[in-house]
Symmetry: C2
Subunit: 343 residues, 2 copies
């Protein structure tokens, strides 16, 4: 059933039927209801492709999921997708998902989407401190929303977590528990959120008049293995930390394994705080104290922001920072070591 046969059946022109269906003023109420009814009865669905051609829009949104070639892709991405999905579905926008590894193959994927007119808007995730994807999109004045933040002089729309605040909170928690030697296992410096976390960590230490010990600040590739390796090296320090802040839950898992393998007890000898609150976090042994962020709502909000951006809202009005919440579970505890050193 296409527009033509529907309008013939109704004895109306295609124009009138199309207008009735799309809510134009110039159609009388009577004809409109008549048309709507007939459309429903005949199961008429406008051909989206024809519609797009006429409108000159793609009626689609693009997301590129960053998948490290070897690793598992970040599981939280699917939650973000689910959150966005509901909003786009309601707006009958298609959500086009592509996978690309970080690196030289990444930008071409974005170009294909943008220059090939396959999408009307993009969502950018796993943001880097300097991010050429964002520069590219800004250059072309293409609508997009970033999950995270980057460094650029031009305004852009984003929804970010307050990483600095999160790590102030986490650090303060450990300080409040009596810890003085607190390590930070951070993400690689090129990722945007790493800087904020480092800031928060130093700020909280400063406020408590604790000197920053550079040997306690280390970078990890976000894998469990690397978290394990790095935590071991921290524990082998002459004066090892009694608390460890981790870049994410996966890293925290590795750190826990390291602590246990040294015969120490997590949450007693060494406190650990993660970040993300992945599904497994409540179920480790002991359950992981971590920073929780509402991922699905964030996805939904990002989708709404993108819709606003696409209909002309200036990027300055589309900038939000959400605060993760500290979720106390079992891996943090009072510092039990005199002098603030484990063992």
């Amino acid at each position: 059933m296409d527009l033509k046969s529907l309008s013939q059946r109704l004895g109306l022109s295609m124009t009138t039927v199309s207008r009735a269906l799309n809510g134009y003023e110039e159609v009388s109420e009577a004809t409109r209801t008549r048309v709507m009814e007939a459309a429903r009865e005949n199961g008429y669905r406008p051909n989206p492709v024809a519609r797009r051609l006429a409108l000159g829009r793609a009626e689609a949104i693009g997301v590129v999921i960053p998948n490290p070639p070897g690793d598992f892709a970040d599981p939280f991405f699917i939650e973000l997708l689910a959150g966005m999905g509901s909003v786009f579905e309601a707006a009958s926008l298609d959500l086009i998902v592509t996978a690309a590894p970080e690196g030289p193959a990444e930008l071409p994927v974005y170009r294909r989407l943008v220059e090939g007119r396959r999408v009307d808007g993009l969502i950018v995730g796993r943001t880097r401190r300097h991010d050429e994807r964002i520069e590219y999109l800004l250059d072309r004045d293409f609508p997009f929303v970033v999950h995270g933040r980057t460094t650029t002089s031009r305004p852009y729309a984003y929804l970010d977590m307050d990483n600095a605040q999160a790590f102030v909170t986490a650090t303060e928690r450990l300080i409040g528990l009596g810890h003085r030697r607190i390590a930070l296992i951070n993400a690689p410096a090129h990722l945007a959120f790493a800087a904020g976390r480092h800031d928060g960590y130093e700020r909280a230490l400063g406020a408590a008049a604790i000197a920053v010990d550079p040997s306690l600040v280390v970078v990890c590739d976000l894998s469990e293995q690397d978290g394990h390796r790095i935590a071991l090296s921290l524990l082998d320090l002459p004066r090892p930390p009694t608390g460890i802040l981790c870049a994410n839950d996966t890293t925290a898992l590795g750190a826990m394994r390291a602590v246990k393998s040294r015969g120490l007890v997590v949450g007693r000898d060494v406190s650990i705080i993660g970040y993300d609150d992945l599904p497994f976090a409540g179920h480790t042994d002991p359950p992981l104290t971590t920073m929780h962020q509402p991922i699905r709502p964030a996805g939904a909000r990002i989708a709404e922001m993108l819709r606003a951006r696409m209909s002309g809202t200036p990027p300055e009005e589309l900038q939000e920072v959400w605060r993760p919440k500290l979720l106390l579970r079992g891996t943090d505890g009072p510092c039990t070591t005199a002098g603030g050193t484990a063992r």
Copy 2:
């Protein structure tokens, strides 16, 4: 740069340029290279929407991710997406992702994709024993590939894991370690793979002449919580099991927690085997023995199968069953209890 201006610039008709670009025979080699070159120089990309309208295809594939309203969506789905992504990208097919919870809202999402001509093919996951999505697609003769299997009299394309074989293997492993009281925490019966797993379990027990004890076969909703609850009830049995086979790794996590909370040691007092090999599985304490399946390659293969199906390969030729591998880690061990009972 559109086809018209490109052909004008070349002094050729749109027909010839279009044909040259799309590899038709009727164009001389000389013109073809001339056209190709000009297209590249001018950065010409055919408008996909116009192309689709003319061709009458959507050039897109649909996937619906099943997201339980409350829970985290299954993390392995993103791996499947990543696997499919590369294949579709190469074929320049768009991958359209929608989220829908299992239930009454699910089929309408499929109908919208199919009847709204938004996709040329679909991938169906989280297959149910009786699956109305599959019946619907078969009724309409719409191309699709199933991840899993279902019960229907009509042939359809699928890639499934050999669940029966997997659970034969897992069960035999425990039997080989001396276990006699082996529990099965299975998935809800309406999910397709549950039956196969139950079969495999019983088959292996039968082969070892061990009677099936119905009180050792229980159903779980696949969450950690439920796995924990059910494992506790198993351990409270008059004659508790010494080995537990779990429907998935998440359930296994819950079971491990239950065992520990009873003061028992996982892998010594009670052996546990999971299924999926999720990223965390190697990093639990002790590391989880589980069944591994190559998810990303499976996604890629499913994508290829769908392309074949869309170009006419009969479904009978597109049916594959892959064998998961048993990954021995630390949660299985010899039965230490005389009489085959824990404690």
